[in-house]
Amino acid sequence: MVAFRSTDTSGRTSGLLLRCVLYCLLALGLIIFDKRYDHLGKIRRALSFVAYPVQLAVASPFEGWHWFRESVSTRDTLRADKARLEADLRVAQFRLQRYEALEAESQRLRALRENTAGVADRFIIGDIMDVDLDAFRERVLVDKGASQGVFVGQAVLDAGGVFGQVARVEQYTSEVILISDPAHAIPVQINRTGLRTVAVGTGDTSRLKLPYLPTSADVQAGDLLVTSGLGGGFPVGYPVGTVSRVRRDPAQSLAEVDIQPAAALDRSRELMLVWLKPSPVPSGAEAAALPPTPAIAAAPKTAAPVPAKLPTQKTAPAAPGTNQAKAPVSTQGKLPASPPAKTPVQAAKAPAPVKNVPAAGASHP
């Protein structure tokens, strides 16, 4: 045995060096290709299918232990749980009755106004596959892709609120850009006042910002922000976050507003990929006549007169000079009175210049 090894080592040293250099060059090539050209998605995914059984094998005993603990929980615990769950269910059902009536009413009103702003229609659950650890690129990989009908620009929610949107679609996976990515912007509305603006990511999963609000805007810490549905990418009325801090410097024309995202951007494992319900009263001719604007090309007709009206009346006098108020000023007189034949066009074009800059990167990366 010893003799075998010693003869073998004398012959192996150069071979070892050669193989080491070859493997290292291969690894360096992988690093460069993965970092610079981003062409290795398929290889990575193929490898992750190899790694998946290992992860599954590791996870299963823990799931088994949970199952075991559930199986041996005492009768009293189960009874208490059952009572609590029944109470929860009663409350939820009670709320749901009201919600259904409200939703029906909302649908009727939307139909009346030919407002086609999307309502979440159906969704699939996607699991996050691997989190991209790059601090300057907040994206995650989800295990649903083109084969499940996922499309670029699709809204992604989690249990708490809006999570992001789909940036790239592969056959079985897709890449989701988080709302906290610096290249992402989402049209929002302050729930308390109806004030519309755009929330932009900061690169920090615990913070978004509202960079386009004037210092005089009616916004306070604790205000809930919901999606406004402008732009058509996101369904209306889902929570985006709460205002955590407002700083008004009298010398500046714009306020600094920070938002705490409602979605658990750094903790969620399961995401909902949402399809928006098509317009209840489709207005095809009008939609075809609209000029395509880059940020809201998905559904330019979705400019909502309803949210547009409220903020115009409330904020335009307060902030006539800012970008945000520019467009509503021009349509201010018409909006409440005129039928929505033309106003959606103007309203749709109005916010576009404001949010184009950041949102363009998000919608068409």
């Binding site: 192996r12 493997y23 290292c24 690894a27 993965d34 290889i43 490898l47 290992v54 590791v58 601090a135």
Partner: protein, 158 residues
Amino acid sequence: MMREEKIRRVPMLTSALVALALAVIPLPSVLDQLRPDFLVLVVFYWSIESPRAGGLALAFFSGLALDVINGVVLGQHALALTLMAAWATHLRLRLRVFSVLSQSLTIFMLLTLYQFVLFWIDGATGNPVVNYGRWLAPVIGGAIWPILSAMLSRARER
């Protein structure tokens, strides 16, 4: 010779798979920082004990598996692990006659260099991780090396 290699490959791949499972097993965050690089230690063991069975290939593909599981740039762990496995292979004749303490210290040095290569690639790809916790893993790894190598030797003899 072929028969001998075949006999050696089964425990090699099995131990690598077990080490990979240990690398992804969920731990509380405090312990997670102290988790030694099991797969790296296993690769070192096979590089030292049976270099003919393809230790470098094992190192390269184990590294790729770690890259995929950790979701970092592809090739990072592969490069670091290949370099260190090659060095371990080069040192193997000396390592076999070392005392347990010297072996542990050598393994500690290799693990630290391994972490340093990872650290360097992290920085070069614009994703620096400035956390001192990562330098603890080599210490633990060096400390458990005697136990791990004894266990692997027993598994190999069987």
